[in-house]
Symmetry: C2
Subunit: 309 residues, 2 copies
């Protein structure tokens, strides 16, 4: 009685009709309506037990939540509005049903908060560690997507929140900056944007490489999470903030005029989010860190990268 | 030098512009244009090493091909036209780059054949077995999707090809019935459709359950692949054809009139595909197998189901 099909019946019982969903879970594929002036934004992320989380510590519910949250963060980085998602899982055979339900309940929490129905998936079991892959679809209105490319020399670099020490818990509980991104593109022209997943140093390098520019970051301006100070690993809180990753804050480039007005007005305050200026883009294609004492040094990308020998 | 970023550079060098793709690989998400009268069809499937394939036997290239092919088969089952796909992988750390390239080349083969660009993904490495999850997007025109529900008592059940013994190789090399499905919905009203992934007995049960009907299958009409006879496991070729799964043929229900004309005209012959009638739907909500000698017996779903204790 306890198998894939019983779980799918449980899922379908939880299904709630949604105006955008013509066909939901339980067919060969899901079908969505799509308004005529909107492009389709699609992103996917996979989390693997032991690499992206420790199941016994995190609990399956927070893993499910994170699996959707990281995808929502990617949609936010494009300034896209979430529409629907699908999820593939490789579950343990023993205890897999309970894990499946907890994963789902964790996803469902964000699914409801961001109105992104879970319209389908693929449920598997095996003898390996837990793997969950979510694909999220979003839509862009006439303003179009915001890309990594588009930053210009002189642009201010703004950040939606403090960085560092995410491993101590934030990576499982963060709120993806979807509403923040949509608010920002309504107010100003965002030239380029990325979410901080691999670490500020690495993600800033991505943004600059795509935009064909460089940047300087002022250490004194960088907001640092208190958790970044709770390590005894010989690395400073600043180093944690620069390189840890999984912060899932948005880093974006705007004109100095727009930047100044955003800093003054703090339009994301109703969402509980403070905007920080951390530096500027420049034409010289290098990354520089200006230390609090005024000295400067190269900012070397040292964020997370998957090894592939 | 050999890491995720180097692989992504390799991927982006292979990227070819596509009229539907506004943003391809290398940003936080991909962006597609979408025509105004078409719904979005989305499906996802995950393949895990050791469960869905043996990497040393299959080779990564055929695994990549299969990962996309099973998704194309799901799009075909909805009579959707492929538009784009994304792929998430968990690769081995040692030798992972070579595996990644082979997976990609296997996907690329089908990507080109079915005009479904690989617009993005997530590349990870870990110490576990290879996992690949593909999500495919398709579109439906004004005829809308064909669902599992919709079959009516009296409908003929047709099949696009012989079944059984797929494990001996067909599951890695099959051609998803995308063109066949699109041709069929242009010619007749297909009441309900499903692809045979879990096994005819199980997938027919799905179609009947969704359609609120039953069916009888005539064993004498069932086309059986020669490979179904190459087992020495005490199960007959008929049993292999009924329950093996991973055939990825389409099973569909049409009116007897449409069924008769499809059988007479064989409109898929230019695609190398012969249509077979294997039985009928009926109002009594059970599945029956009519044996070659005329006796009948219940057809019990014994196809593949993932265990979840």
């Amino acid at each position: 009685v306890n198998g894939e099909q019983a779980y799918i019946r449980w899922l379908r019982q939880r299904w709630v009709a949604h105006p955008r969903v013509l066909v939901g879970p339980g067919d060969d594929a899901a079908v969505l309506t799509w308004p005529s002036d909107r492009s389709v934004v699609v992103t996917t992320d996979m989390l693997m037990e032991g690499t992206c989380f420790v199941l016994a510590q995190a609990g399956a519910r927070r893993v499910g939540r994170k699996a959707l949250a990281v995808n929502l963060s990617d949609l936010a980085a494009m300034a896209a509005r979430p529409v629907a998602c699908v999820v593939s899982v490789a579950l343990p055979q023993v205890g897999g049903r309970a894990v499946a339900e907890e994963l789902y309940l964790g996803m469902e929490e964000l699914s409801k908060a961001f109105d992104i129905p879970i319209v389908g998936g693929d449920t598997n079991s095996w003898s390996g560690p837990l793997v969950i892959a979510v694909t999220a679809l979003g839509e862009c209105g006439p303003r179009g997507p915001v890309r990594r490319r588009g930053a210009q020399a002189g642009d201010w670099l703004l950040l939606t929140g403090p960085l560092g020490g995410s491993l101590l818990g934030h990576h499982l509980t963060f709120t993806p900056r979807v509403r923040e991104a949509l608010t920002l593109v309504d107010l100003v022209r965002v030239h380029a944007m990325i979410d901080i997943s691999d670490g500020l140093s690495t993600d800033l390098a991505h943004l600059c490489q795509e935009s064909d520019c460089g940047a300087c970051v002022e250490a004194a301006l960088l907001p640092i999470r208190p958790e970044a100070e709770q390590f005894d690993d010989g690395r400073s809180p600043l180093e944690h903030a620069l390189h840890d990753g999984e912060d899932f804050e948005l880093l974006f480039a705007v004109s100095p005029e727009d930047g100044a007005s955003l800093l003054a007005d703090q339009p994301l305050q109703p969402l509980g989010v403070h905007l920080y200026r951390i530096g500027s883009c420049r034409s010289e294609k290098t990354l520089t860190l200006i230390l609090p004492d005024g000295r400067s040094q190269p900012l070397v990308p040292r964020g997370y990268e998957h090894r592939l020998d």
